[in-house]
């Protein structure tokens, strides 16, 4: 009888054990993707074409914003004039500093590609932004807009304002700039396809210098008396051209379209000398460049349609990252932009 009660007791103990918290299964928590802890500080070097022009100053502001929000250390340094040799020097300095990412707005792809290749060989992630190098010299090119679309858009704007006929010239930055050459190519292509009465008289180059831009504007205005329009595809072009037109008092006869900082064009737009210009946000470009650099350094794969915080969705075409659409500035909205 005692044995029986002992067995009962044991059974009771078994049964009573079921009432406690009994963990059945523990699943491994998948590592959170949102904020991988930053183990090491990354150094990002951003090299513009030149330092002291409004466009690159705006880029610099965006870069600084991005540095703040991403927590990366960002160096922003460019040549004082758009001199490839100087830019190369700066790049070499950054290579020596062993930065993690090098993002360059390339003045001269032929000259600078070798040094970028060398940087890549040393394990540095090389990006180009604003102006591309040769493909083998960089991992990604961060493009502001789609080249074809921009070229067509600029020519369309001009055509609409001058009635689809007449002579025009193009003010580009330099012949060595690959993306300006591409835009030029698409403008010419579009011209051939749709506007048989528009005639491109010349492509002039500003060499990314305000002075050259002014001189070249003056020269072409004088050289082509029947000139109806000017397309500036380097940001220094339109302001210089607008100033020249005003001096020559032909603002109403010659239409200016192109890429320029709204701040530079503010007065011209408001006074009605120029009806509209086009650009993207260089701040956003600077911001995006840093964010891309950071993401790549974190090992994230850059994908088409990816959402970048405070930038939006980006397009990826091969090794080209496209930031978005261009903005058209007019007298109405020009005040909303501070670059």
């Amino acid at each position: 009888m005692q044995k029986k009660s002992l067995v009962l007791l044991i059974l009771l103990i078994f049964v009573s054990a079921c009432n406690k918290k009994e963990i059945l299964y523990v699943q491994e928590t998948p590592p959170s993707e949102s904020h991988p802890e930053q183990t090491e500080q990354i150094d990002i070097a951003i090299v513009p074409k030149v330092m002291e022009i409004p466009y690159f100053q705006a880029v610099q502001q965006g870069v600084e914003e991005a540095a703040k929000s991403s927590g990366a250390t960002v160096h922003f340094k460019g040549p004082t004039t758009a001199d490839p040799a100087q830019q190369e020097e700066i790049i070499r300095t950054f290579i020596k500093q062993k930065v993690d990412v090098l993002a360059v707005s390339v003045i001269d792809p032929d000259r600078l590609s070798p040094v970028l290749i060398e940087a890549r060989r040393q394990g540095i992630t090389v990006l180009t932004w604003d102006a591309d190098a040769h493909p083998e010299a960089r991992d990604y090119f961060i493009n502001m807009v789609d080249a074809e679309m921009l070229g067509e858009h600029l020519l369309d704007s001009l055509a609409a304002q001058i009635g689809e006929e007449g002579e025009y010239i193009i003010l580009s930055g330099s012949q060595s700039s690959l993306n300006q050459e591409e835009w030029l190519h698409w403008i010419k292509q579009h011209n051939r396809a749709y506007y048989p009465n528009l005639i491109l008289r010349e492509v002039a180059y500003t060499n990314d210098s305000p002075v050259t831009a002014y001189q070249e504007s003056k020269r072409v205005v004088k050289a082509f008396p029947d000139l109806k329009g000017i397309i500036g595809i380097a940001s220094l072009g339109p302001p210089a051209a607008a100033a020249v037109l005003k001096e020559e008092n032909v603002s109403n006869d010659i239409v200016i379209v192109g890429l320029a900082s709204p701040r530079d064009m503010n007065a011209h737009l408001k006074e009605g000398d120029v009806r509209g210009i086009t650009l993207w946000s260089p701040k956003k470009l600077g911001y995006l460049t840093v964010m891309i650099a950071k993401l790549m350094q974190d090992g994230t794969v850059i994908e088409d349609g990816m959402f970048i915080e405070d930038v939006g969705r980006i397009q990826v075409k091969g090794e080209q990252i496209i930031m978005g659409e261009p903005i058209d500035f007019t007298a109405e909205n020009v005040d909303q932009y501070d670059f």
Partner: protein, 601 residues
């Protein structure tokens, strides 16, 4: 030890039943219990592993939903006009401001509330001291004043945040529960802060996601903010203000049993919330419970059936033994009549058989002893009667009388002396055995007295070797035979001669009484011989009682190898007594043994 003692004292049937219980029912019960436990455990573990996976999927869906809503402000960037409105500061003409308000709210309504199948209750945009709102339901609260507060905190954090209804004074009609997702709006072109968009997401979307869960209606599904323990969503809609203590959930991702409930937990929404699934185990394991009930019933049936069977078996084993015991008890009480029927050939059957044998044996032995004793007493009584036979005394006294009248003084003295000796021999009652010499002397005395009476009609002669006279023999074995010879001889003949001879073989003493009388009548002789060959003690009283009495006594004392033989010769009859040739000591022990037997009976 007490148990041991108790067990030892239990009856065989109880012992068998107890052993059976210990050996069969308890192992089976334990086995069943362990199998059931293992089975339940396995089922629990299986479900325990399944629930977190299920939850994780739901959690991912919730994440996706929340993420989708968090990404919704992106739609605002697609409208340059809306961004431009937001860029404006509030210092402007009232009409213009109202115009913008209208444009913005219409845009919000069309592209946020009506364009998607989302569960948005409302969209609020706080920008530069302005509030733009578009809601699917009427609401109260959320005025400009708070706009500044939330706007600022979001501007600092630079990321989205999720607020619960308790965090703000925003209340929708019907008290719909919501998750308020705040997303900062950034001027991407200028990289400046524009304002904040709040999207109120109806938590019932969790319902839809978890609707596919197993036992959805019985389960309680909660979305819990981990840090504060507040419940954002509760499928059972219990008090939503309650705060769940931290320690209630021992793990972050997995499942456990608690208070009869299976609880699954998995992190949700950027690990800041926990999706919890609680279900009473009886709902979840209804099938297992059923199985358990059936097993228990089957087990009980098994126990009952096997107990019955075993009781039957044990009864079959113990009952014959019990019957044996009862029978032995009645034997103890002196009843030897019944033997037991042997129904089986097993050990118990054989035991019963042996027992029956024993009983029969004992019964026979008792019968035999009893009869021997009876005969003995009868014989003694007869012998006694013989000795003081009034006829004999009367005849003798008459003889003495004649002798006195005839004046034969010497003869009288002789007769009286002999008679006296005979009487003394007879009176010596305690002794059953005497020496052969004494017995011969007694028969000689008897014959002498008879001779006084019959004179020449009786002659006799005794012959015996000297050695054999010391041999012990039963008392009064010769006299009845001699008496018989005289009686029958003198009935038919005028004279008779009796010849008594004793001789011995190595192990036998043969006493021969020979007469020349008429001999035995053939029919009487056959009858007598039949009687004499029978077991001793079964004889009846007959004419030759004296003879059969002697034969019986010898047989009873010495066994069937000894006894009496009858023979008719040419002149008369010969009776031979066969006795063992034994010495005093042996006789003595035999005597003692016999006495013992006597007492025991």
């Amino acid at each position: 030890m007490i148990f041991k003692k108790k067990f030892r004292n239990l009856s065989l049937m109880h012992k068998l039943l107890l052993s059976y219980t210990l050996l069969t029912i308890i192992p089976v019960a334990l086995l069943g219990f362990f199998i059931y436990t293992a089975y339940t455990k396995a089922a629990e573990e299986q479900i325990g592993a399944l629930v977190p996976q299920m939850l994780e999927q739901a959690s991912q869906q919730i994440d996706r939903n929340v993420q989708d809503v968090t990404n919704m402000p992106e739609r605002l960037y697609q409208s340059q006009q809306m961004i431009e409105i937001l860029r404006q500061d509030s210092f402007q003409l009232h009409a213009e401001a109202m115009q913008q308000q209208y444009t913005m709210e219409r845009y919000l309504s069309s592209s946020f509330l009506h364009s998607s199948s989302s569960d948005l209750l409302g969209v609020f945009v706080f920008s530069k001291n302005r509030v733009f709102a578009a809601t699917a339901k009427n609401y109260s609260g959320f005025s400009k004043g708070e706009a500044a507060v939330y706007g600022q905190s979001l501007e600092l954090e630079k990321g989205s945040m999720i607020l619960l209804p308790q965090d703000t004074n925003l209340v929708f009609e019907n008290n719909a529960d919501y998750l308020l997702i705040g997303v900062p709006l950034q001027d991407r072109e200028n990289q400046e802060y524009l304002g904040t968009m709040f999207l109120a997401l109806d938590v019932s979307f969790v319902d839809r996601i978890t609707g596919t869960f197993k036992e959805h209606n019985a389960a309680r599904i909660m979305l819990l903010e981990k840090e504060s323990g507040r419940i954002a969503y509760d499928s059972k809609k219990e008090k939503s203000d309650q705060v769940v203590p931290d320690d209630r959930y021992p793990i972050e991702n997995g499942s456990f049993l608690q208070d009869g409930k299976l609880v699954g937990i998995t992190p949700a929404i950027q690990q800041e919330y926990a999706l919890i699934y609680e279900i009473p185990t009886e709902k979840l394991f209804a099938k297992q419970q059923q199985t358990r009930t059936i097993s228990i019933v089957l087990f009980l049936l098994f126990i009952i059936f096997s107990l019955c069977l075993y009781t039957f078996v044990a009864y079959n084993v113990s009952q014959p033994i019990k019957r044996l015991i009862d029978n032995m008890r009645s034997v103890q009480g002196g009843k030897f009549q019944q033997t037991l029927p042997v129904t089986k050939q097993d050990e118990v059957g054989r035991l019963t058989e042996s027992y029956n044998h024993m009983i029969v044996e004992i019964r026979d032995l008792i019968q035999k002893n009893y009869m021997i004793r009876l005969k003995q007493q009868e014989a003694e009584l007869y012998a006694l009667q013989t000795q003081i036979n009034p006829h004999f005394i009367f005849n003798t006294l008459e003889t003495i009388n004649y002798a006195v009248e005839a004046g034969e003084q010497e003869e009288v003295i002789n007769i009286i002396t002999t008679l006296g000796r005979m009487l003394r021999y007879s009176l010596d009652n305690g002794v059953k055995f005497v020496s052969l010499k004494e017995e011969i002397r007694h028969v000689e005395d008897f014959l002498s007295i008879q001779q006084f009476r019959f004179y020449d009609r009786l002659t006799w002669k005794t012959a015996y070797p000297e050695i054999s006279t010391d041999v012990q023999v039963p008392k009064f074995i010769l006299q009845p035979i001699v008496e018989n010879s005289i009686k029958y001889g003198l009935e038919t003949k005028t004279s008779i001669h009796i010849d008594i001879k004793i001789h011995q073989t190595p192990d036998m003493l043969i006493l021969t009484i020979k007469d020349d009388g008429p001999g035995f009548d053939p029919t009487v002789k056959t009858k007598l011989e039949e009687e004499l060959s029978l077991e001793p003690g079964i004889t009846s009283k007959s004419a030759h009682y004296g003879l059969s009495n002697v034969a019986n006594r010898i047989k009873m004392l010495y066994g069937n190898n000894y006894g009496v033989s009858l023979e008719n010769n040419q002149k008369g009859a010969t009776v031979r007594l066969y006795l063992p040739f034994r010495h005093v000591s042996e006789r003595g022990s035999l005597d003692a043994e016999f006495t013992n037997h006597d007492r025991r009976g």
